[in-house]
């Protein structure tokens, strides 16, 4: 399941909803991405996430389908926010459930790595040095790249 929304989310409720009534799930891995207060030595006042409505959902669904095909997953959830966020705010939640904890961990990491390089979001930071668009990181490309080797 994927969701793209302006509103905040409650990780505990999301995880609970995903596993409610299920007694066949052995492990749930989750990742929460948060807005940091510093970037490149400058203080961040706020961050605005722009996205490509329609394409975002399509890409996230494709990434979810890819993960389900690669690993034995009982459930997957991706929630990604857009709009203006403050330091400490939640940006993204990825949850994977599996009877195998290695699968849950690998799939969760794959999903966050891939969405960082494929989901059409762009971050505009309001910093103490003025506004600026966050640049894509080589390290994110490399992180995504490792999933294409196997």
């Amino acid at each position: 399941m994927i969701r793209v929304q302006r509103e905040d989310f409650d990780p505990g409720q999301e995880i609970a909803a995903l596993t409610r009534g299920r007694t066949d799930i052995g492990g749930v891995t989750s990742f929460i991405g948060l807005v940091r207060d510093m970037a490149g030595g400058d203080k961040i006042m706020s961050m605005t996430l722009e996205h490509y409505p329609g394409m975002t959902e399509q890409q996230l669904k494709a990434i979810e389908a890819e993960a389900k095909q690669r690993w034995p997953l009982d459930a997957v959830l991706i929630v990604h926010r857009y709009g203006e966020l403050k330091p400490g705010d939640r940006i993204v939640l990825v949850v994977t459930a599996s009877s195998h904890r290695d699968a849950a961990f690998d799939a969760c990491r794959f999903l966050i790595d891939w969405l960082k390089t494929k989901a059409p979001f762009w971050k505009l930071e309001e910093t103490s040095a003025g506004p600026r668009w966050v640049e894509a990181k080589d390290s994110d490309d490399q992180a995504a790249e490792r999933w294409t080797k196997s």
């Binding site: 996430l49 996205h51 490509y52 969405l115 059409p120 979001f121 762009w122 668009w133 966050v134 894509a136």
Partner: protein, 83 residues
């Protein structure tokens, strides 16, 4: 053809969305980008460094040699930074 621009590409071009009718000689994404650059210095500034310009046609990533069809939705944007 519907064109959508995002992030600093949108800011540099000065619009988020426009409907254009490129000449029939424009067959590929690369040709479309070259043609857009003839439309003004704002396009030139946004599109000159093609290493920083990603393209989606009908919401799927495509390479620059992708062939366009009438009615395509073309998104142009910088490398993504979500997550």
């Amino acid at each position: 053809m519907k064109l959508l621009y995002f992030a600093w590409l949108r800011q540099k071009i000065g619009t988020a969305e426009e409907t254009l009718d490129p000449p029939g000689s424009i067959a590929t994404v690369a040709q479309l980008i070259d043609w857009l650059k003839t439309r003004g210095p704002n396009y030139v500034e946004a599109l000159t460094n093609t290493k920083l310009v990603r393209v989606a046609v009908n919401r799927e990533y495509v390479p620059y040699d992708h062939r366009l069809k009438p009615g395509d939705e073309v998104g142009l944007f910088p490398p993504v930074t979500g997550g």
